[in-house]
Symmetry: C2
Subunit: 234 residues, 2 copies
């Protein structure tokens, strides 16, 4: 039977051998939610970049540059980190270079995995179906907040573990911790999350609407996958 | 208002500034449960040591040497990691050098903290009372299992956060995650833990009795504290 494990912070990723695994990277608020939204709306590809400077350089190569640090759009960049910036008609066919505080760093640290997929509540069922059909062992990598755990990514991990539980065995205690958390929260995730430190931080930025959107399950039936250095649809 | 945070793995401790904090180190199965038991039964002091070789050297200096690796007593050592080895009459007045897979490593990594206390379910109320009276910010450091999170240490962290919640504010999401877990588990922790990877591992070693003992709240009203290199009673 294949196994599933959860790495609740990118700072723990050295404890896992990812080489034989399909890794699902998640940063619910809001990097991976934006990536799923953008690709579902016809963006050609997204290059996730850990470095702000390298991302900025992509502007001269015909890329839209998107970026956020500490929850706010980087000055001089074309777009920030709200999913609503990635669903207009004019997004179709664009190539985007994207850097964020946590999400793109988590992707960077997951390199070396057999496959890297991008997960969010927006494409939860699509990811679930894919993982059920695949033969690989699975590792969910939560982006967290600057190395620390966060509620929303842990909740997503728990939802995915719960979806897969009849077919895929948890490899350690972290999947059980995440699943218990999800079972406590699933009936009203918005209310549950309202106490989270990151949500408090984001609420100060007036993005309540973003948060509600990012918690909506199954709006999109797409699976972003990393091919070499860029995310495209599977 | 002072704050409480939870470091769910010693591999994350670099993310926390411990210099102004009281750190509570916990390794429920079984290092910190043994330490609390031993000191409650009259042991003079315990030197926690990360290295097996250094621990062995203490034998010639008049210490009892205790140690466990991967759940089993180290060959040639006087005692292992079962709390029942630390409650006989002949334990009184002994000095012990102690090394374990996770617990003593977590203490080592917490050095630099303002204070280091040893927590377990066995002395949960004593620790709670002390922390309520202290002015310091608090960090609970879970020993986990070789860097990964485990259920039992996370549960203890959640119990302590729950006890303190009316007086001490959680500093981040980890305390909330731990508390939710504890609230799900508290009515039957033994059953809840039976699915944990570490408990499965320990059950193979026939130490069901140890596990039940380590989950017993408030058997002892003692607080072990690290003074220079040794644990003594506060």
């Amino acid at each position: 039977m294949k196994t599933i494990d959860v790495c609740l912070s990118p700072e723990l990723i050295h404890l896992y051998d990812v080489s034989d695994k399909t890794v699902v990277v998640v940063d619910i608020l809001r990097a991976t939610s934006c990536m799923v939204t953008a690709l579902a709306h016809g963006v050609e590809c997204i290059i996730p970049m850990a470095s702000e400077t390298e991302c900025e350089r992509m502007k001269s190569k015909g890329y839209i540059i998107s970026g956020e640090r500490n929850g706010q759009k980087i000055q001089g960049f074309d777009k920030g980190n709200s999913p609503f910036e990635y669903m207009e008609e004019d997004i179709r066919g664009l190539k985007i270079a994207f850097t964020t505080t946590n999400g793109t760093q988590a992707i960077e640290k997951s390199k070396g995995a057999k496959k890297i997929l991008i997960g969010s509540f927006l494409n939860l069922s699509a990811i679930t179906r894919y993982l059920l059909m695949s033969d690989d062992n699975i590792l969910i990598v939560c982006a967290g907040w600057k190395g620390k755990l966060n509620l929303e990514d842990s909740l997503f991990a728990g939802a995915l573990v719960d979806n897969l539980r009849k077919h895929i065995e948890p490899d350690c205690d972290a999947p059980m911790i995440a699943r218990e958390l999800y079972l406590s929260a699933k009936d009203d995730m918005m209310k549950f999350l309202s106490a989270s430190s990151h949500v408090k931080r984001l609420n100060r930025l007036n993005i309540h609407k973003d948060i509600e959107f990012c918690l909506t399950p199954d709006l999109y039936h797409v699976i972003p996958i990393l091919k070499r250095d860029r995310l495209v649809l599977l």
